[in-house]
């Protein structure tokens, strides 16, 4: 497995927490200290950051220690579907990132979820997608097999 901390090339901004959840391990180490970037650089880098991984989330806290109930809900939903590899950015560690991602997404709140570089929405939308079955389908399009499909199969 590659290093779990990825740093962007063009910007000195800290990398995400790349979340790899294993039952015994819990979450991996958090992002390192933050650096400053010009606002325009940040918008450009966000464009890269959201495409680097299939699933990218901007939350308060980390997947191992969410600091907000809504952010935690996103983490839990992904966990339920067995999404165990995604990039997670802690906006509480970086005020510029926090404001920059809101501008980038044209979305006023955190958490924010991206699939394949495309903005999906916040906690409410992810929850509704989970409840109505759309999330399983969207993960399938990403090449991610939802764990809930296996659970459903076993229960039959």
């Amino acid at each position: 497995m590659n290093s779990l901390i990825r740093s962007t090339v063009r910007c000195l901004r800290s990398g995400p927490t790349v979340c790899l959840l294993r039952p015994a391990d819990g979450l991996v180490r958090a992002a390192s200290a933050r650096f400053l970037c010009a606002a325009t650089d940040l918008q450009k880098d966000l464009g890269e950051m959201v495409k680097k991984d299939k699933v990218v989330v901007f939350i308060k806290g980390t997947p191992g220690q969410p600091m907000c109930g809504f952010s935690n809900a996103v983490v839990q939903i992904l966990r339920m579907h067995g999404v165990d590899h995604y990039a997670s950015y802690n906006v509480l560690e970086d005020q510029e990132l926090r404001e920059g991602v809101k501008v980038f997404s044209n979305w006023p709140t955190i958490p924010q979820v991206y699939f394949n570089g495309e903005f999906v929405g916040g906690c409410d939308i992810l929850l509704q997608m989970h409840q109505n079955g759309d999330l399983v389908e969207e993960l399938k399009k990403l090449g991610i097999h939802s764990a809930l499909l296996d659970a459903e199969k076993e229960s039959k």
């Binding site: 109930g69 809504f70 005020q95 044209n106 929405g121 906690c123 509704q128």
Partner: protein
């Protein structure tokens, strides 16, 4: 039965699976003058969406902010304007209407935006997850609280 009372009864019935304090329930016909942000949100959502049903809940009490704050809200908007629109577009419409509030006092906004048929099939209010204390000591929240006071 008065319409406002029957609305109250309906909400009590459907909220069996939702734990929220009934003391904070406000029928949309009865805005609280001491809660200007709640009033503004109701007015703007009503004007824009002409909703069949609207609920605006101040959930600030559930978070690490001082009593009486108006920083965290949950809104339920049932409007034919949402018919056929994907979720993200619906939410963007709501965000746009409340743009000013979201850039000043409102820190968190949980949205349910349903078309009337969807509401008829599932007339339940969502439940916000428990606070994990992130607002405490958060400078962004401090700014929002100050904006609310000014």
């Amino acid at each position: 039965m008065l319409p406002s009372v029957s609305r109250c009864t309906r909400h009590i019935t459907v909220s069996l699976s939702v734990t929220r304090s009934l003391a904070h329930f406000r029928p949309h016909m009865d805005p609280d003058p001491n809660r200007p942000m709640e009033r503004t949100i109701r007015t703007k959502l009503t004007d824009k969406f002409k909703p069949d049903h609207l609920e605006v809940h101040n959930e600030s009490y559930m978070h690490a902010v001082p009593p009486g704050s108006e920083t965290h809200f949950r809104v339920l908007v049932v409007s034919s304007q949402f018919a056929g629109l994907p979720l993200i577009q619906r939410h963007r419409l709501v965000n746009e209407v409340l743009k000013e509030e979201l850039s000043s006092c409102v820190h968190a906004l949980a949205i349910q935006a349903k078309a009337p048929e969807q509401w008829a099939m599932d007339p339940t209010l969502g439940k916000s997850p428990p606070c994990m204390g992130g607002s405490k000591g958060d400078p962004t929240v401090e700014e929002k609280l100050k904006a609310g006071r000014d």
